[in-house]
């Protein structure tokens, strides 16, 4: 845009000097004077329109969500997010059980995913023999490419029976006293949702952590090793400590993904709007209730309440993602697009 403006300001370029426009530190020569400027202008305008439409998209999302949920916002106000009843028949809607389910399943997922993903990232960047490195990072990427609904299918037929037969009885026997692992082991429930979410967010956290670890200067490692540190001490002092902000960012980004994940959770969480302390009990999440009930919602208020849940989900994920983006950016900024090892 700016270059177009500059070009318009010096239309004939009479001195035949090599006219340049300094933009963002780069020197960009202007177009030769003889060429018509109209196609150029049209092209840059079209590209600008494409860019602007991104902004328009986000604004449109907010507007549509607010418009469609107006009815429910008026009817319930802030109480909507505190109410525990979800009774479409009598027209009483409260979102707390869904918020609870979303938060708890995401937290379980994070608890499982954090050690896994940091471990695998450290392994790939610091320990892995070179030939194996590409393979493992490719496999991790592949994990990210599997669609949510396929994870859900696998969770229904493989993970849930496994949890029911082996993991949940074990947890119930030895950790039942915490109150988190009580009640009959269904297999399907909050724990299953948390585990499948963990598998899904590991690739995200791991790949960003890997990026952040690679951004730590090699001299840091060499300096710590030169002091006689073992490899683990080098990783702890020289690498992880330098990268911790970025790692936190990666974890929050994973959280953002977990909060909005729909299909796999819907298929194993049990879809019961209740608040139960035990992780064995079935629950419901914000995304799942939209997925399950949106097409069946009878009445405008019902639909509007579902859209309001969507609005809440949207706002929370936006805040979480922005926070994560800032944290990751604060570590990797100043690095070229492809980090030099």
């Amino acid at each position: 845009m700016r270059n177009v403006v500059e070009a318009a300001r010096f239309p004939q370029n009479p001195q035949r000097e090599p006219a340049t426009a300094a933009a963002g530190g780069r020197t960009i020569p202007l177009i030769p004077a003889k060429t018509s400027r109209i196609p150029d202008f049209a092209f840059s305008a079209a590209m600008l329109a494409c860019g602007l439409s991104l902004l328009a998209c986000v604004v449109l999302i907010v507007i549509e969500l607010v418009l469609q949920s107006k009815l429910s916002i008026h009817a319930f106000g802030w109480g909507f997010f505190k109410g525990t009843d979800w009774d479409p028949v009598s027209g009483d809607f409260g979102a707390l059980p869904f918020i609870y389910g979303t938060i708890v399943s995401s937290m379980v997922a994070l608890l499982i995913a954090i050690p896994l993903s940091i471990g695998v990232a450290v392994f790939i960047t610091e320990m892995c023999p070179k030939p194996l490195r590409g393979t493992i990072s490719f496999l991790t990427e592949l994990l990210a490419a599997i669609p949510s609904v396929v994870f859900g299918l696998w969770a229904i037929f493989v993970l849930a029976p496994l949890l029911r037969a082996h993991v949940e009885p074990f947890l119930g026997t030895y950790f039942g006293w915490t109150g988190l692992f009580t009640g009959p082991p269904f297999g399907i429930g909050m724990l299953a949702a948390g585990v499948i979410l963990a598998i899904m967010i590991v690739p995200i956290i791991a790949s960003i952590t890997r990026e952040v670890l690679t951004a730590v200067p090699q001299q840091q490692r060499e300096a710590v090793l030169a002091l006689g540190a073992t490899r683990w001490e080098m990783i702890r002092v020289g690498v992880l400590r330098n990268a911790r902000t970025g790692i936190v960012g990666a974890i929050i980004l994973g959280l953002g993904r977990a909060l909005g994940e729909t299909m796999a959770v819907t298929m194993v969480i049990g879809n019961t709007p209740q608040i139960a302390k035990s992780l064995f009990a079935p629950g419901y999440s914000m995304a799942s209730v939209i997925a399950n009930e949106f097409t069946e919602a009878t009445g405008d208020l019902y639909l509007s309440a579902l859209v309001e849940i969507g609005l809440g989900l949207f706002l929370v994920t936006i805040v979480v993602n922005i926070l994560a983006g800032l944290l990751v950016w604060s570590v990797t900024r100043g690095m070229p697009a492809r980090v030099r090892a």
Partner: protein
């Protein structure tokens, strides 16, 4: 007499502890790597074992059959998916590449930074929310579910991925390449399209394929846009079946025969997506921008 034996015993204990901690940490990292790769192998293993037995010609050529009947296929869902993904690509690819060109070639200063940020925000919006928006924008206006609305939802999801990746690969093209084009009197728009974009084409194709792989398995936004259909439909204005939707319906059903079909659907979907990702790897490793 070795040097270590003359050291005080506290020092020896410390050395031993450091060594053990180092080994333990290494072991922990290796264990985590195995635990990450294991579910992947488990998912693929189950898909292949349970899916491949259900794949036959009928699966690709027949319509779904009612409960109780044996056989049947998902031909309409495969065609429906192709249609929806086609609409999504028509919307998302030019749009995303255009925005990427803007950010890379014209994007200096504060406003483009805001746009980059917006793209990242859009990337993080849960897919189900995009589905609601497509419902409000298209389905409510049309007054019925349609392939078009599904395509719009998936198209919007493609844009931010393609935008950011296109920008990244365009910035890898050296300025001298552009200057060479400008130097021989090529107009700027022409230079951007025929020289810069062309030089970066391998990277841009990578971006498009990755975005495609990402939306190919998306189910949530299709639930109340494309909606699904048991019969043939080639009209983009009518409810349309899609492979992930069909898979979801089959998976949560209580019938063994449908579960079998669900595994087959999943296998086909995965082959499609992994095929796309593997093709990207191939293009990326042969093209100019390795790893881009």
């Amino acid at each position: 007499m070795g040097a270590t034996e003359r050291r005080p015993s506290r020092q020896r204990l410390l050395d031993w502890r450091r060594k053990v901690t180092d080994r333990l940490a290494t072991g922990f990292a290796v264990l985590m790597a195995i635990l990450v790769v294991a579910p992947l192998l488990a998912v693929f293993g189950y898909l292949v074992v349970r899916g491949i037995g259900s794949l036959n010609l009928a699966f690709f050529t027949h319509l779904p059959v009612p409960v109780g009947e044996k056989g049947g296929g998902v031909a309409n869902a495969i065609v429906g998916s192709v249609m929806i993904l086609g609409i999504a690509s028509i919307i998302g690819v030019p749009w995303g590449i255009g925005a990427g060109i803007y950010l890379a070639e014209y994007g200096h200063g504060k406003f483009p930074t805001l746009l980059r940020f917006t793209a990242d925000v859009l990337n993080g919006v849960p897919s189900i929310v995009i589905g609601i928006v497509a419902y409000a924008l298209v389905v409510l206006k049309q007054k019925h579910f349609s392939a078009l609305s599904g395509g719009v939802a998936l198209g919007i999801m493609m844009i931010p991925t393609i935008t950011r990746a296109t920008e990244e690969v365009l910035l890898l093209v050296p300025l001298s390449v552009r200057e060479a084009a400008w130097g021989v009197g090529v107009a700027r728009w022409r230079a951007t399209l025929s020289v810069t974009l062309r030089t970066a084409s391998a990277g841009v194709i990578t971006a498009v394929m990755l975005a495609f792989a990402r939306i190919a398995g998306e189910t949530a936004p299709l639930l109340f846009t494309a909606f699904g259909n048991q019969f043939w439909n080639l009209n983009p204005n009518q409810p349309t079946a899609a492979l992930p939707l069909q898979l979801f319906v089959y998976a949560i059903s209580p019938f063994d025969e449908w579960h079998r079909l669900a595994w087959a659907c999943a296998l086909v979907l995965i082959v499609l997506i992994v095929g796309a990702v593997a093709a990207v790897r191939l293009v990326a490793s042969r093209g100019m921008f390795q790893g881009a």
